[in-house]
């Protein structure tokens, strides 16, 4: 049961992120919701590489003769974090543009494109 704790944390992160996206009206909160989902998926990727009783996969400071955690999911997660930074920066820039034109951050008042 204790080994499944990271996966439960992943489910909580993604659930909270989806709740924020659906029910909150402020645009900054929607950006935070996307960050939450992304953190959940990154945590899922890292937890996949864990092996019981293993150490970090660095040759420079490892005790010899011990098994190591898988390094490939760590490379995947790093790429995903970089993409997440670009996404967050772009969403915040677009929110700044919307604020400059409409003066408010409430999604009910911003909607002009309908139908």
């Amino acid at each position: 049961m204790i080994d499944n704790l990271p996966y439960i944390a992943v489910a909580i992160f993604i659930g909270l992120g989806i709740y924020t996206l659906m029910y909150k009206k402020n645009l900054i909160k929607i950006a935070i919701g996307i960050c939450l989902i992304e953190n959940g998926v990154n945590l899922f990727l890292i937890t996949l590489g864990y092996r019981k009783g293993a150490v970090a996969p660095i040759y420079t400071m490892a005790p010899s003769g011990q098994s190591m955690v898988l390094p490939t999911p760590q490379a995947l997660t790093l790429t995903s974090i970089v993409i997440g930074i670009a996404t967050t920066a772009l969403i915040l820039s677009v929110v700044m543009m919307i604020y400059k034109h409409y003066g408010t951050l409430d999604t009910d008042e911003i909607r002009r494109l309908r139908g």
């Binding site: 660095i58 040759y59 420079t60 400071m61 790093l78 970089v82 930074i85 915040l92 700044m96 400059k100």
Partner: protein
Amino acid sequence: MKGMSKIVKTVANFVYGFIIIFGFYIIVHGHLTPGGGFQGGAVVASAFALALVSYGSVNSQKFLKKDIFSLFESFGLTLFIVLAFSGLGITFFYNFLANSGNWFGDAAVIGTNPGNMNTGGLIPLMNIAVGLEVLSALGVIVLVMAKGAEFTRKKENS
């Protein structure tokens, strides 16, 4: 935005250089210890964010200029792609410097070892290119958002 008090400015003056040096240490040792291009670049950009917050966006325009950051970003990106093209005789991204005896060319050691910085081939060079690009790009993002905050405060107070 306005600057902060005298105590914050003094500590920021002292710590600014150390953060940048630590960031470059993480970038250059990317093939031996955890780190590499992106992580080191993000640490250096946090030093720029510290200078921006403690001195205020108007005063820090004198030593953090957006155009120079933009130029360095293009240099970093172009260097990365040119390094990838340079192995095109065999394949794209081919590591022709590894295990060859020149620059960064010692043989790679498998197993626990104290770490030889001269190994790795093209990987440390690409780390430096990516680190240069990331620190400039994050610097540009932080500066542009600070300028946007200044514009909004003027609009709200008028």
